[in-house]
């Protein structure tokens, strides 16, 4: 809660910045909506589907915290990581709490206005299914996202500057997670790359669940694969963290 209060205070410190950030989010969705409306102008059903898809995918995106990598990576490269070792808290847990606070404040300041602005589109285009399953998939997606980015943060021990790698990851997710372009319309070979990677569970999976009825066995199969990916990245995080502790050398006071 303290992190949340601090993050909210920081966010509204410069009110104009907060306002512009809201307008920016609304505008970004508007541009995508206009593009899809034009491209599917002859098929109203697709316009309606893509409208929902674009708005909801942008809302889902707010639950995925990008700051984890830079937060951990920054501490590693500046050396602040060492002082965290003597605190009775874990660097991963603290970073996660800060990110959660950021997500809550971001959702309040940007998410709610976006939902309000686009609510007429969301309400008029009915046909939402599996809402509890969608929420579970978003929570699991959040954990997966966090683990992938924190792993990148810990890799700062080797890579020193991690922003290029964060950017590589961001852009890969942009194309292969189905946040902007649904995976169904990607050409065959890109689509098969997307299916082999875990990123489709971030956007495509919850959106497919939300907009269509899904076979229960298929749903469980997807959850199991998602959990396996989470376990894999959790283990990689633990391994990297332990390796870092073993190799780290603290010099001076």
């Amino acid at each position: 809660m303290h992190f949340f209060k601090i993050t909210i205070k920081n966010s509204i410190m410069y009110r104009w910045s907060a306002l512009f950030s809201i307008i920016g989010s609304v505008l970004y969705i508007a541009i995508a909506l206009m593009l899809w409306r034009f491209l599917y102008q002859d098929t109203p059903d697709m316009v309606s589907y893509m409208t929902k898809y674009t708005i909801v995918s942008n809302i889902i995106g707010m639950f995925y915290a990008r700051g984890m990598a830079e937060r951990i990576g920054g501490k590693v490269s500046s050396g602040a990581f060492v002082t965290d070792l003597i605190k009775p808290i874990n660097i991963f847990t603290v970073s996660w709490q800060i990110e959660l606070a950021g997500i809550c404040s971001d959702f309040l300041l940007r998410g709610l206005p976006v939902i309000l602005v686009y609510s007429p589109f969301l309400i008029s285009n009915t046909g939402y299914y599996n809402i509890p399953a969608v929420l579970i998939s978003i929570i699991l997606g959040h954990i997966l996202f966090l683990l992938v980015y924190s792993l990148l943060g810990f890799l700062a021990f080797i890579l020193i500057e991690i922003w290029p790698f964060v950017r590589l990851l961001d852009d890969t997710i942009r194309l292969l997670a189905g946040g902007f372009i649904p995976l169904a319309i990607l050409p065959g070979f890109i689509s098969s790359i997307a299916s082999a990677l875990p990123f489709r569970y971030l956007y495509s999976f919850p959106l497919e669940l939300l907009f269509a009825t899904v076979d229960m066995s298929k749903l469980i199969e997807n959850y199991i694969i998602l959990i396996i990916w989470i376990c894999l990245f959790a283990m990689l995080n633990i391994f990297t963290y332990r390796l870092a502790l073993r190799k780290a050398v603290v010099q001076g006071g």
Binding site: Y14, F20, G24, M34, L159
Partner: protein, 266 residues
């Protein structure tokens, strides 16, 4: 000339310093290359699915987006770090330090950080534009090549002008990055696509209020022989001159802001 010599020295020192961490340096270049490669891929995916976007095939989209990206990247190598992000210099109090040195403020800001990472964007856009020009060679005449050269210069000046103006707003607002994010970056997203797919008020805004369409849309219409109205032709032909005027306007905004500056209180 003197400034160019000093700037060359700064760039040389900067590259030497960056090369200390060779892997990070090349990773930065590659990250920017990859980011925009993905954007071009997105256009390819859309045009594969829909053939064209209002008559604009993939090659046309490459010219449209490439002009915007190339001019932006060239401007960014000089102005992105410390001019567009002038708020950091002001709010941290570092700007006061610049003011007591015997060199113009804008020149110092340009020298203080070379935008090496934009080289990745420049290379990806050059590759795509060159390949595309080879493919649409049938549309290219001597006039088109000469026009393209001037349109690029006009576009670079326009992008530089925009970075200077949005950076200068920090003199009044202290923090202008969020405003730049929406007016410069978000609104410029519209011109990644042909303006004809958007409602007409957006075309008017992007031509006469926030003239980002002058950077790439109108020049692309001329290069790709897609001009339909006299207005489009005139705006396209005048784009290099508009670029020069916009750059001059930005310098006057910067100087006006600087005259008003009295410290950030940091």
């Amino acid at each position: 000339m003197e400034f160019l010599k000093i700037y060359g020295c700064y760039v040389k020192m900067f590259i030497k310093a960056r090369m200390e961490y060779r892997c990070s340096f090349f990773a930065g270049l590659f990250a920017n290359f990859y980011c925009y490669f993905i954007t071009y891929t997105t256009f390819w995916v859309i045009t594969q699915q829909f053939q064209t976007i209002d008559g604009w095939a993939f090659d046309d989209m490459v010219i449209l987006y490439g002009l915007n990206l190339f001019t932006y990247s060239v401007a960014a190598t000089f102005f992105w770090y410390n001019v567009l992000h002038l708020e950091q210099e002001i709010t941290s109090g570092r700007l006061d330090g610049y003011l007591i040195r015997p060199m113009g403020l804008l020149q110092q800001l340009v020298c203080s950080r070379f935008g090496d990472t934009a080289l990745g964007q420049i290379s990806v856009s050059l590759i795509f534009i060159s390949l595309c020009i080879v493919r649409i060679n049938y549309k290219m005449t001597i006039f088109t090549y000469i026009y393209l050269f001037f349109a690029v210069i006009g576009g670079v000046l326009m992008q530089m002008g925009a970075m200077i103006i949005f950076g200068s707003l920090s003199f009044w607002m202290l923090r202008s990055k969020a405003l730049a994010d929406i007016i410069y970056f978000d609104f410029r997203t519209f011109v990644h696509y042909p303006l004809s797919i958007f409602p007409s008020f957006i075309r008017i805004i992007l031509t006469y209020v926030l003239p980002w369409a002058i950077i790439n849309y109108y020049p692309s219409l001329i290069i790709l022989q897609k001009v339909h109205t006299t207005e489009e032709f005139v705006l396209g032909i005048l784009s290099p001159i508009i670029g020069i005027l916009f750059f001059m306007l930005s310098l006057s905004v910067f100087n006006r802001g600087l005259r008003r500056y009295s410290g950030s209180g940091s």
